[in-house]
């Protein structure tokens, strides 16, 4: 919502001060200032000029030659890219030497062999609104006595003014008007606020003979007021009105539409005009639409209506307007209109919201209705203002107005406990203080037994409860005046064990040389299939791009994209990791997807054992209990180089390599070693505990054993058998050599282990070590088909 100082002063003449300081006050009231503009700073050197002649440029199609008179009496030739003006038009003209707001200096130039001695300006070029299409034609906007060559500001009668562009929150319908902003600001400044009284001269004709309105659904319409204007001529509105509309960001259209918009901006009351001739017998009804009913709206689109939409119908029960949202084409005023039915109503905000959303039809009017307009005196005030402005244009209003009531919000006074308000705000205001703050912005406040009975004004639809009223007290008291404290609670902060372990995982992986990545969780259709995964990702209803329309079910696609991206930037061997959410299809009977936190490690250019080595780091860092790798196949992973990671008997994910076909699909060069674990399950599941074992003070004995083991027996099985054989005396088992080739049978390999034997209470005898050694050999043969090599 934009407001100007001069317009605010029509309600509070004493508003004054530095524009920035006033802006700070508006912001502190909750009307955040987004921009301050000083109006009247018309660009120096821009003058009023007249178009004398228009002719084509001999060597260019997109520009024409214009002769203008800038007051010197001699025609000046200008090359101009706009074609919207006619001979005789008055236009803003930037003379040679003018520095435009964008920094460009106007100089004499030649365009394709033709002189250009200045520039004809669009509105946007000189800060008159946002219209950059065509030259700003000023014919009816200049003041009486304006002369060619006059500085533009003088020619238009623009006085110095200040414009604030305010961000108005959804709970402030009142501040969607100049008057509403003036009410708040004058209260904050402690200066008087009042509505000017506008006298009208009605004709003798009575409205009751002309109009007959019925509200069929009172839940839709709280109040419907209408009257008739005769002697209507649709023409241009006066320059001062057009200027204000442009300043506040609206386009002048014609005298009737401009008055309608002017009244809406000034008082916040949207209004609608029907061509009375198109409303048989002046009869209107207000009801909900029937499902499937249709209406051709003002924009000539046929709308199919639903039973939530409010409509206005004529006496034939034909829909003629979409209540509060958009009028119908059949009753629109036109050049030939002579009599207008003027309507101002209060519409139920949720109803308007639903219709606007369903039909995607936002407008200045519906934005105000959605927030809740004023159903009280403001409607009468807006009627009077409309009629007074119309009278200035020669229109005549009949006497009286039809005024049909519907359901309006309850305004029984709300009991407000000052102690509760102070307890919420942390203030120590008296009931009197609070009453003062509230009455300054039009609330009623009466002290009853120490409490306040607060009457909420009709212009604050969104305000209804004690807490709402506390907010108003805080706003007017000033948020900055609230004394700052900190909660007195003695809560102990901290990370959960899960969160601590997750941080440890990140540190371990960074220590292993892995860079943390955080791709967005969106995939393109086909990404999952290309990664060898089922195409069961949840899809977005309203994606921005098709490439971001599927939610990932695995971290694999994102990591492969990251590797491919880095490879294409000459970083072939990246080690990456990611801890993030995946979204698996919803479980039976569940609304939301099965969302989990996964861990992925991707080692580009490395083979599966590198991934196992990283997994070992995690195993040690987290003290994971009983980690087993079970050779397995998994979607998207290398069929012979993948193992399921089983921790304490529970499957937690996979380690290995990515399937070469998948790598090819993603344009990844070389191998990729891969870990993907369900981190949530893993960290929430049983974790190992660390137990102290006294360090033995007695010497240890190392024994090296090499076995020939068939390829289909896992080394982990051999190790398991050795541990079983060695029992409590076997301290460590280290695989120190793997060999295939001469001396080892085809289909087998040699695995060489170093076993360390040690007791905590004695030095082992040779006989004890020999016995343990033999037991290891026996178990390896029995459990792992491992033959001791000679």
């Amino acid at each position: 919502m934009k407001v100007t100082l001069s317009w605010l002063r029509e309600f509070a003449p004493d508003i004054d001060g530095d524009p920035v300081a006033l802006g700070e006050i508006l912001s502190a009231l909750g009307l955040a200032v987004e921009e301050i503009e000083i109006i009247g700073d018309v660009v120096e050197g821009v003058v009023l000029a007249r178009v004398l002649d228009l002719r084509p440029h001999p060597d260019a199609d997109k520009i024409q030659l214009v002769d203008v008179d800038d007051g010197n009496g001699t025609p000046l030739q200008v090359c101009c890219g706009a074609f919207n003006m006619a001979v005789g038009d008055l236009i803003p003209f930037a003379t040679i030497g003018t520095v435009m707001p964008n920094g460009m200096e106007i100089a004499q130039r030649e365009l394709r062999g033709q002189r250009s001695n200045g520039m004809c300006c669009s509105g946007a070029e000189i800060g008159f609104g946002e219209d950059a299409e065509g030259i700003l034609v000023l014919n009816d906007r200049v003041i009486e006595g304006a002369e060619l060559g006059m500085a533009l500001g003088d020619a238009l009668g623009i006085e110095n003014d200040v414009l604030w562009d305010l961000e108005v929150n959804a709970n402030r319908p009142d501040a969607m008007s100049v008057a509403g902003v003036a009410r708040d600001l004058s209260a904050a400044l402690g200066v008087p606020f009042s509505f000017p009284v506008h006298e009208t001269n009605r004709s003798d004709e009575s409205v009751t003979d002309l109009l007959d309105v019925e509200i069929v659904d009172p839940t839709l319409c709280g109040r419907f007021v209408a009257t008739v204007l005769r002697n209507v001529t649709v023409s241009q509105s006066p320059a001062w009105m057009q200027n204000r509309l442009i300043q506040l960001g609206m386009r002048p259209i014609n005298s009737v539409v401009d008055i309608s918009n002017y009244v809406m901006l000034e008082l916040g009351q949207p209004n609608h005009t029907f061509d009375l001739a198109t409303v048989p017998n002046g009869r209107l009804q207000v009801r909900r639409a029937a499902e499937g009913e249709t209406l051709v709206t003002l924009d000539d689109a046929e709308r199919t209506l639903s039973s939530v939409d409010g409509v206005i119908t004529d006496e034939t029960d034909t829909v003629v307007s979409l209540a509060g949202v958009m009028g119908g084409a059949s009753t629109e005023i036109s050049e030939s209109t002579t009599d207008v039915l003027l309507e101002m109503a209060w519409w139920d905000p949720p109803s308007i919201s639903r219709t606007v959303k369903r039909l995607n039809l936002p407008s200045e009017a519906s934005t105000r209705f959605r927030r809740g307009c004023d159903w009280g005196d403001n409607i009468d005030r807006a009627m009077a203002r409309f009629i007074q402005l119309a009278e200035e244009q020669g229109m005549v209003a009949v006497t009286g107005q039809v005024d049909v009531p519907g359901d309006v919000p309850d305004r029984t006074p709300v009991r407000v406990r000052p102690a509760k308000v102070n307890g919420l705000l942390g203030t120590a205001l008296s009931a009197d203080d609070m009453a003062g703050h509230l009455t300054s912005i039009g609330f009623g406040a009466e002290i009853v037994d120490g409490d306040l009975d607060v009457t909420i004004p009709t212009w604050r639809w969104d305000t209804a409860t004690e807490t709402d009223i506390a907010e108003e007290v805080a706003r007017m008291f000033g948020y900055a005046n609230i004394v700052r404290t900190v909660p007195k609670g003695e809560a102990a902060g901290g990370l959960t064990e899960y969160q601590q372990a997750r941080r440890l995982v990140r540190e371990v992986l960074a220590g292993a040389g892995c860079d943390e990545t955080l791709p967005m969780p969106f995939l393109a259709p086909g990404d999952l299939q290309n990664a060898g995964l089922p195409e069961d990702g949840v899809t977005l209803t309203n994606p921005l791009h098709a490439e971001e329309s599927v939610l990932r079910t695995s971290l694999l696609p994102g990591q492969l994209k990251a590797i491919a991206y880095n490879q294409s930037h000459r970083e072939p061997g990246t080690r990456l990791f990611e801890i993030d959410h995946v979204y698996r299809p919803a479980a039976e009977g569940e609304l939301l997807p099965d969302e989990r936190e996964y861990l992925a490690v991707a080692l580009a250019g490395e083979e599966a054992p590198a991934a196992v080595a990283v997994l070992d780091l995690l195993e040690r860092a987290l003290a994971l209990p009983n980690v087993r790798l079970q050779s397995d196949r998994a979607p998207g992973l290398h069929p012979t180089r993948t193992a399921e990671v089983v921790i304490a008997g529970r499957p937690r994910g996979y380690v290995g390599e990515v399937d070469p076909t998948v790598l090819e699909n993603y344009g990844v060069e070389g191998r990729v070693a891969w870990i993907e674990l369900d981190l949530g399950e893993l960290l929430n599941g049983p974790l190992g505990s660390r137990k102290y074992t006294p360090v033995s003070k007695f010497p240890s004995s190392d024994i090296d054993l090499a076995f020939e083991v068939p390829d289909d027996v896992a080394a982990s099985a051999v190790e398991l058998s050795l541990r079983k054989g060695g029992g409590a005396l076997l301290q460590t088992v280290e695989l120190f050599d793997v060999y295939r080739g001469d001396g080892v049978a085809e289909g087998s390999r040699s695995l060489a282990y170093r076993l360390r034997f040690q007791a905590t209470d004695r030095t082992l005898t040779d006989a004890e070590v020999a016995e343990a050694r033999q037991s290891c050999i026996d178990q390896a043969a029995k459990k792992a088909n491992a033959a001791l090599r000679g």
Partner: protein
């Protein structure tokens, strides 16, 4: 005899001073102190002397032997030191010939920022709560006092997913659903912050991403006031940004808080930067979570994590955060 031995000792001293390797030293050791050395032979002859002479000669012999032994020890020490020095010289390395064999990875800038924020809040007595990113309309809107018709719904630019009835399941448009989940499952007092990813239908450009990170705080306790809200934000800002940075609250509107405010922090030039939104938890929100608003009160606040990282490191394009270019990742 003694005189001859004195001569031998002098001779030994001179030759030991010039010895240059340990082998020669061993030869000299044998020559002067060995079984066939003059000194040993002389000692054997002592038995033939008169007791008094024998005593004097023995003393003299021992004294001479001691001197030769000292000379040998000195020579050995010198040679050992020389040999070590030579070896050390031979081991000289150019330590700038490094090959970065141990690489350390980087934690993502968002993770680092999030951890830092979490640590500050943990220090202020908060715990960290988390929740799902795909949410139902109840958690994302309705429980937060944003009914289906509410104009504020449109302002969230929600990304919906194809689950359930239309517009019933969505990518959460703020971290506030975690407030609801926490209040539903926890008895007050509650002191949490909830960091996490949120979503809007924003096309990715230099300053926007459709998926970005926020952190949200929630305090529910007895007697919590708006003064506590302002003070908590002030304390956080001082701890996170430094003591000179000031804060201010401006009235604003969120359906789930009342009173509501935007909070700004001061820039060095005295201007204000809008950081986030906050307010006193709306009684309807408390009621929706089964908490009696006449007993408990609280506040909530929230702001962007990515934005802080962008500000702190003056990134000129927020998309760097999701590109996963290692040339970017490794800078932090």
């Amino acid at each position: 005899m003694i005189e001859e031995l004195e001569q031998t000792a002098a001779d030994a001293s001179a030759r030991l001073a010039e010895v240059t390797d340990l082998d020669s030293l061993a030869t000299l050791d044998a020559e002067f102190l060995g079984k066939k050395s003059a000194l040993t032979l002389a000692k054997k002859q002592l038995g033939g002397l008169e007791p008094d002479d024998r005593k004097a000669a023995g003393k003299a012999l021992n004294e001479i032997r001691g001197r030769i032994e000292a000379d040998i020890a000195e020579a050995r020490q010198r040679l050992t030191a020389d040999a070590r020095a030579e070896q050390l010289e031979a081991e000289r390395l150019d330590l700038t010939e490094k090959r970065d064999e141990i690489k350390r990875g980087s934690l993502h800038l968002v993770t680092q920022s999030r951890d830092r924020l979490e640590d500050v809040f943990v220090g202020m007595g908060f715990t960290i709560a988390e929740g799902p990113e795909v949410e139902s309309a109840w958690y994302n809107f309705e429980a937060l006092n944003i009914p289906e018709w509410h104009p504020a719904r449109g302002s969230f630019d929600t990304i919906f997913v194809n689950l359930g009835e239309p517009e019933q399941v969505m990518l959460r448009s703020h971290t506030s659903p975690v407030q609801i989940r926490t209040m539903e499952n926890t008895e007050p007092p509650i002191y949490i912050v909830a960091p996490g990813r949120t979503f809007r239908t924003d096309t990715a450009d230099a300053t926007h991403l459709p998926a970005f990170n926020q952190i949200e705080g929630l305090v529910i306790d007895k007697g919590i006031t708006m003064g506590d809200l302002a003070g908590t934000i002030d304390e956080f800002v001082r701890k996170f940004f430094g003591g000179e940075v000031k804060t201010r609250l401006r009235p604003s509107y969120f359906p789930f808080t009342e009173p509501s405010a935007e909070f700004d922090i001061s820039r060095p030039d005295g201007s204000w930067l809008e950081l986030g939104g906050c307010g006193m938890v709306h009684p309807n929100v408390l009621r929706n979570c089964g908490i009696d608003p006449d007993v408990w009160q609280g506040f909530a606040f929230g702001f962007g994590i990515d934005r802080l990282a962008v500000m702190r490191y003056q990134l000129d394009d927020i998309r760097e955060l999701v590109n996963n270019d290692v040339r970017f990742l490794r800078q932090f």
